[in-house]
Symmetry: C2
Subunit: 374 residues, 2 copies
């Protein structure tokens, strides 16, 4: 792999991702000004749209067109429960809540406990199933509407998913799965089949209502290969192609790549981290600062490569003016990294104190959200 090259698959993100290049590789569309203006007709533009954190899509224009005709879409997103939730996971979930609130959409939230069991050598079924419920607490803590939101672990509702997954699987050859996911002869046969299960939630409302219902899938762009298959198969089995809208990855505190669970635990902040852990991780993070204070004062910092600045951008400074101020202070050399980190620390700790409270309160709401039957 050349130094500037990168890999993005549903199971691996390596290198510094060039998102313009990725859009070309995956064949998605960038969200342009015209599309933003169209969204703005229905809802105030979320900062993640204004900042191009959600930057790419497939057929978002179509799903909006249907909405404008009175044909409401439902939302589908999910999580692979292989570990505790980290702040990077919250990015698409917060945006999904914005979509639910703005468009009044039903949401199906899939916890792929089966997938994580199949792809993580060391995890047992019991562990991934239990993590599904732990991760669900973070979803619920964000304030989703329980009347419009159903969360499920795949193995809990497999009676519904499996028959429809068979319909998908019948239309996907190993050859296709290999090309899309990079499978080899050593991939296990469950992993090969799994994408069929991830397709099904895109059809739930069409199945339930017995008519085509548009679906919009907000997700981090690494999951796009799955939905490429879903979109290819959908019309062959009588369903509309789901639309999708894609976000970038919250960068690693170590300065490169996705905040992936396979990376070092210090490269990311878990929603369950203590204030001390938050402090330690942030204070030891990589930044866009210079080697000496003198240099930093003279040349200014580099927010474009700084994970601390990304944390503000993705999550912790939602006011555009204030974000611009931070950026200018940094670039001008007025803001030192220590100070910048300390301020972020306070915001993250404050956020997590509140989130952890909501997360514990969510335990009582689990039964309202977690479906055993679709």
């Amino acid at each position: 792999m050349a130094e500037k090259d990168f890999i993005v698959t549903p199971w691996e993100v390596v290198g510094d991702v060039d998102y313009t290049e990725l859009v070309k590789r995956f064949g998605t569309q960038e969200i342009d000004e015209a599309l933003l203006a169209r969204i703005k007709k229905h809802a105030p533009l979320h900062y993640m749209l204004r900042r191009k954190i959600f930057f790419s899509h497939r057929d978002l224009d179509w799903v909006l067109g249907e909405y404008e005709k009175g044909n409401k879409f439902f939302l589908y997103t999910g999580r692979g429960p292989s570990d505790d939730t980290h702040l990077g996971h919250l990015v698409p979930w917060i945006f999904t809540k914005y979509l639910q609130d703005s468009f009044g959409s039903k949401l199906y939230f899939q916890m792929t406990d089966d997938e994580k069991f199949l792809f993580k050598e060391k995890l047992s079924r019991e562990e991934t199933h239990s993590l599904a419920y732990e991760n669900a607490l973070d979803v619920i803590a964000l304030g989703f509407d329980s009347k419009k939101t159903m969360i499920f672990a795949d193995t809990d509702v497999i009676d519904f998913l499996y028959p429809h997954a068979l319909e998908v699987a019948k239309k996907v050859t190993f050859s296709t799965a290999k090309a899309v996911f990079g499978f080899t002869n050593e991939t296990n046969i469950g992993g090969i089949f799994f994408t069929s299960i991830q397709s099904v939630p895109a059809f739930i409302e069409s199945i339930k209502q017995k008519k085509p219902v548009p679906c919009l899938i907000p997700h981090a762009i690494d999951q796009d290969p799955h939905f490429r298959i879903t979109r290819d198969v959908a019309p062959k089995i009588g369903f509309p192609k789901p639309s999708s809208i894609h976000c970038k990855f919250l960068p690693s505190l170590k300065g490169s790549g996705k905040m992936s669970s396979s990376g070092s635990p210090d490269s990311m902040i878990y929603t369950t981290d203590s204030p001390e852990e938050v402090e330690r991780k942030i204070m030891s993070a990589f930044t866009g600062g210079r080697d000496t204070i003198e240099e930093q004062k003279r040349l200014g910092g580099r927010p474009e490569i700084c994970p601390i600045f990304s944390y503000y951008t993705f999550l912790f400074e939602t006011d555009d003016e204030k974000l611009k101020e931070i950026e200018q202070q940094c670039r001008s050399g007025k803001l030192m990294c220590g100070e910048d980190k300390a301020r972020l620390c306070e915001r993250v700790k404050k956020f997590l104190a509140e989130h952890q409270k909501n997360r514990e309160a969510a335990r009582k709401q689990l039964s309202k959200f977690m479906a055993k039957k679709i």
Copy 2:
């Protein structure tokens, strides 16, 4: 394929099967006299054992050893519901009933409606599911003990099967599945995964009783590749390897190969055939007879290549002495094919009249046998 060559896979049987050669290819064991003597200690030898219709096994001696120690085995067999039941299917089922009656075994009977949907281009899920119930009538009609027998369609009990199938799938690479089943890049990803589902019933009692329970699988030898995988994976996921006992195929009335549903409908007799259809199929069947009556009288018939004689052997003459008599009459040139066919016709019609009556009566018993929950 050379003229004398043959292919046996779970989905295809082509050519005249050389069973001695097949045992070598598959790596199973022939059932020898010592093993027959051991079975005889517990039960009168079934004619299918005496005649080597059930001729091959894996670890049958082990499962008998466990039985002798008081560790009872349970039975597992099944059917791929792609069509109506034909007489060839009844062969292993009749033998399974003998095992249940003789050893007091529980039986799990799997209807692989998912498999048949995945492998039969033209069948819908609704069709294979409905065929599962139609085929179950034939099983019930044979007189299985409802207290000891559970029949299920995979999609009805997938909530139980799927989590355990994941355990199997995680241990099987595409490479292995390819080698065992001859899959190609064009095989669909559901077909690749399916063998995991066929493995699970071999573990049901071990799962339910939370301790290792021996399992014996009576089946036609074409299904052996599935159970080779099951046996390979079992100890890796904490279960005993199932034992198996294998039968030959009832030959086609057209004179070659397995009575496969993919062959012509005239090459086999369905359990739902009318007396007229039975007559037409048998009277137009291939035989081991000679070209002219004169020749037949002079040289005698050839029961060894005659499907009519096979029908007597497999199903319609259970008395060894009487079977020998038929064989001698045929070989000596005393018995003409027309007469032989007419007698078989009467027996098949009589059998089917009774079976069809039991089959209809079985509709009322479906709910006692068909499980929606394991």
